[in-house]
Subunit: 147 residues, 2 copies
DNA sequence: GACGGTATGTCAGGATGCTGACATGAGTCA
DNA sequence: TGACTCATGTCAGCATCCTGACATACCGTC
């Protein structure tokens, strides 16, 4: 760098992006050897924690559009990692569930991601983590209603 | 949502992604009317604060690849918002600078983004902001060396 | 001075995600 | 019941960004 930060380095927004970017990169690094992407992992993890989630709910949870999640679900279905009923039990919503194979595929990935998160939190005490959690939640809420 | 969070809602990593996503969405909302994207704004803002940055440095600062930044710079150059020397003064590095027109184009965008950041920080006191800053920086550093 | 390592700018090809649009089903209200 | 609103699943087309690769220029050690 030619010159040290004047303003960007003091901006919480920029730092937020920096942290999120670093986290994503670290996750990609550990997931790649397992043949898994971040979006793929997010989808499976969501389904493990909340079985029966719909396509749209998964999309919101993984921060992608319905359309993107839809093609991902089709792939996962072909690979036998998830199942969706052929016809909607109610409305148009197709509740998705993990197959045993999907659960197995998720195991290693979950462990890898946990280790990344642990590394990220190393050097932070419990109260600092709690403070960070409160701060981030406050930011999310403040940005949401102002939308 | 079908069910309240079991684990994801308590994960700092997930919350970090959520906050970053909300911030980006809010920025896009205020920048779109100005005919500007987040990456475009980031590039111009970087150049305003650190004139003479190279393509690669801009890419790192805006969290995209050199290749992506390169095509953006070509566009900005065609539109007369930035200038790059035809030949590198030293090495291969082409120092980029904002034109007066680029500076003008940036003005409104900067104000808009500042307002978003202000909204994001509303409801947080000074010590909380400082705590959040320290926590995020700690996370970035911890993720970087482990890479 | 020569050499290996590193960083840069740039080109082509491909993967991923998004915007726009449509039909369908559920809930609301007159 | 019928009209209106909203959310969903899905299709097609497009934009964006990335991966891979190459030639070139600096910088260190020898």
């Amino acid at each position: 760098m030619s010159q040290d930060g004047v303003d960007l380095e003091t901006s919480l927004g920029y730092l937020l992006k920096e942290a999120s970017s670093a986290l994503r990169a670290a996750m990609e690094d550990v997931l790649r050897p397992l043949g898994m992407s971040v979006t793929r992992y997010s989808c499976l993890e969501l389904l493990a924690q909340r079985p029966g989630l719909s396509n749209s709910e998964l999309a919101r949870g993984a921060f992608v559009t319905r359309q993107s999640m839809n093609v991902l679900l089709q792939t996962l279905e072909e690979e036998g990692l998830v199942t969706r009923p052929a016809r909607a039990p109610v409305g148009k919503v197709l509740p998705t569930r993990l197959t045993p194979r999907g659960r197995r595929s998720l195991q290693g990935a979950t462990a890898a991601v946990r280790s990344v998160e642990a590394r990220m939190l190393a050097g932070m005490g419990e109260p600092e983590q709690a403070a960070a959690f409160r701060a981030l939640r406050s930011m999310v809420d403040a940005l949401r209603d102002g939308g």
